[in-house]
């Protein structure tokens, strides 16, 4: 276990930055946190959630696939993916870290998504335990422990120090390169922090939320529930929930005609959109209700069915804050998941 005085954090960031690009949550002008590349003077924000989740590092909103260059009647294919070299991310929360696992199941299973894979391999993740989880946090529901955030290097903080505990070889290697900025420390202070956090989690308003009634092979049980009508009636069909969600993974592949060629890229898509998976015969889910249902069924039933019962929600609470009409997965779980949830 290593530690560093909070006021000296910049030294650590500087040291890491010498080795590799470093990204960390920074408060932007709208007073929201977003991941930004560290440069001299960039302040780390203790804000719990960034607006955009950490999935952007591995699955960015848009990504070049290749170019087709035309000249006259000729066409040539040019590789142009912009994959990053090694990089480190500091301040990833437990929920977002778990979301990588959700994405891995999709992108790293055959056929492997090489872009995603390269990015994952090139990253060192510093997590940060959540000292002050918010009322919208429910990672606990999905067996995620905000006091035990994992990652390549797991970090904890108290008033004065940030504690760093490398867990993987990648994490150890990077920390070894920056030891001069760090002091050694025992497990004790972190144990205290963990205990405090665990106590706090129990007092969260959504602590008792349970997704137990959902899971693998429950399609028939939930698909035709009449409550979907009511839950979806106010949905505007925008993509906010999917775009702030750390586990939403759908994308579209599009071509942009530049005038002298075509840029093929992929970009996030949203199952909430009316043109999602539109085919020659139209979009299979013709109503917003069906699209709405798809999103939650996927998180709570379809994904678990295909991934050994693992849910594809990590309880980060972003959608609770960002949905324009405040409809969200908690309301869905409560409505459909039985009385246990109040």
């Amino acid at each position: 276990m290593k530690k560093i005085l909070k006021k000296n954090l910049q030294n650590l960031f500087a040291a890491i930055s010498k080795e590799t690009d470093l990204f960390l949550p920074v408060l932007n002008s709208a007073k929201n946190a977003e991941f930004k590349k560290w440069t001299e003077g960039t302040e780390y924000s203790e804000e719990l959630n960034t607006v955009r989740s950490a999935k952007d590092f591995f699955f960015p909103q848009t990504e070049n696939i290749c170019d087709f260059k035309t000249s006259g009647k000729n066409i040539e294919i040019i590789e142009n993916s912009e994959l990053p070299e090694n990089f480190a991310v500091f301040g990833v929360r437990a929920c977002d870290l778990k979301s990588f696992e959700v994405l891995d199941n999709v992108f790293l299973s055959e056929p492997v998504d090489s872009f995603y894979k390269t990015r994952r391999e090139n990253a060192v993740i510093f997590t940060m335990a959540c000292n002050r989880p918010k009322e919208t946090c429910f990672c606990h529901t999905f067996n995620i422990n905000a006091a035990d955030p994992k990652g390549d290097v797991e970090c904890f903080e108290d008033e004065t120090y940030v504690y760093l505990n490398p867990l993987t070889q990648k994490g150890k290697d990077l920390l070894n390169k920056v030891t001069s900025a760090l002091e050694d420390e025992t497990e004790e202070p972190v144990k205290k922090i963990k205990a405090e956090i665990e106590e706090r989690l129990k007092n969260l308003p959504l602590y008792n939320l349970s997704a137990e009634s959902f899971g693998s092979d429950k399609t028939e049980e939930f698909f035709n529930r009449k409550e979907w009508d009511e839950l979806s009636e106010a949905c505007l069909g925008c993509g906010t929930c999917t775009f702030v969600c750390p586990t939403c993974q759908c994308y579209d592949i599009k071509d942009f005609n530049t005038g002298h060629g075509v840029k093929r890229f992929r970009c996030w898509d949203s199952c909430m959109y009316s043109d999602f998976t539109k085919m020659s015969a139209g979009q299979p889910r013709t109503h917003q209700k069906e699209r709405f249902r798809q999103r939650f069924m996927h998180k709570l039933v379809y994904y678990p069915t295909n991934n050994n019962g693992m849910f594809s929600c990590v309880g980060c609470g972003r959608c609770l804050k960002k949905c324009p009409i405040s409809m969200n997965i908690v309301k869905v779980i409560k409505k459909l998941g039985g009385t246990a949830n109040g």
């Binding site: 932007n28 909103q61 848009t62 009322e135 007092n203 925008c238 993509g239």
Partner: protein, 329 residues
């Protein structure tokens, strides 16, 4: 703090359901917390009693829902705040729903709270928010109770409320007021006073946060197109995600232009933007320009008004004289 109470609305809704005036009520449903309110349709007194909510966070503009809901069976009751009422008229002007299927009850409005601003105040979770006269009582998870002045934590649009006059209703639940305020262009004026470089930097900073989630568009009561140009591969501007600064500008310029003269300045776009981009400053620029070039115009003030962009006079200002005029005033 709203003077209209939840109970007043529930009673009115029940009365109109019971006497058969309406079969459905468009209202707001309680959430997990005080702020996560969801628009909903109620069809019985029991539902209303159990789930209807109206508090200092009930800011949603109902009018857009009528495009979808006014087609249903029987009349639907809608409560129109001043903001909603202008959207309501504008949608009627554009034939977007059938007026006969709607029963509109006008309610006065004293402004709504901005949850984001309250949240910013604490590095903390927020357990509950109570509205008490001019005060907001916030109970946080870790630091106990805090008291805030309501006036400081209002939504931007409410702080600069353009008018408290309800422009459309079948019945008024409260008094109609003529109170208007003229502060809403101050931010636009500040921007106009900047140099082009400063303005460019300002907008780059704001618009670069856009994630093209379409929340602004999909909540906008003026954006009710059957198919938006940005979803239409044939339009030449279709895109699903923003790839660079051009596309950020493009989306927001075109969207603002498409609603120019039709936008009632209800402020929903800025309210719902997950990235807190001050989108209203785009729409208000158009409104300010329209007012100064072609005379005061409030979209939705009356049904049937001719929007400034589908109108003209022979003496209109020339583009070369119009550009930059705001900053010289």
């Amino acid at each position: 703090m709203q003077t209209v109470t939840r109970n007043q609305l529930v009673e009115k809704a029940k009365e109109l359901l019971n006497n058969g005036t309406v079969t459905r009520v468009l209202g707001i449903k309680k959430g997990e917390f005080s702020y996560d309110l969801t628009p909903a349709v109620f069809t019985s007194a029991e539902e209303l009693e159990k789930e209807f909510e109206f508090n200092g966070f009930a800011a949603a503009n109902f009018s857009k829902y009528l495009v979808k809901l006014a087609d249903g069976e029987g009349k639907i009751l809608v409560f129109l705040k001043p903001c909603d009422s202008y959207s309501f008229n504008q949608l009627l002007t554009e034939h977007r729903f059938n007026r006969e299927n709607v029963y509109a009850v006008g309610i006065e409005c004293d402004g709504f709270a901005d949850y984001k601003k309250i949240e910013e105040e604490f590095n903390d979770g927020i357990k509950s928010v109570e509205f008490n006269g001019e005060k907001i009582e916030v109970t946080t998870l870790y630091d106990g109770k805090k008291e805030l002045a309501f006036a400081d934590y209002m939504l931007e649009r409410c702080k600069n409320c353009k008018t408290k006059k309800i422009a459309a209703f079948d019945e008024l639940l409260t008094e109609n007021s003529d109170e208007t305020k003229n502060t809403r262009f101050e931010e636009v004026e500040k921007l106009e006073a900047m140099t082009p470089d400063e303005r460019y930097a300002f907008w780059r900073n704001e618009l670069s946060r856009c994630i093209r989630c379409n929340a602004c568009r999909d909540v906008c009561p003026a954006c009710t197109c059957e198919k938006c140009v940005f979803n239409n591969p044939d339009s030449g501007v279709e895109n699903k995600a923003i790839q660079n600064s051009f596309e950020e500008n493009m989306f927001h310029i075109i969207r603002a232009f498409h609603v120019a003269g039709r936008c009632t300045d209800c402020g929903e776009c800025s309210r719902v933007c997950p990235q807190h981009i001050p989108l209203h400053l785009l729409n208000r620029k158009f409104i300010k320009d329209i007012n100064s070039f072609y005379g005061e115009y409030q979209a939705g003030a009356e049904v049937g008004n001719r929007a400034p962009l589908v109108n003209y006079t022979k003496e209109d200002i020339e583009p070369k004289d119009a550009v930059g005029r705001g900053s010289e005033e």
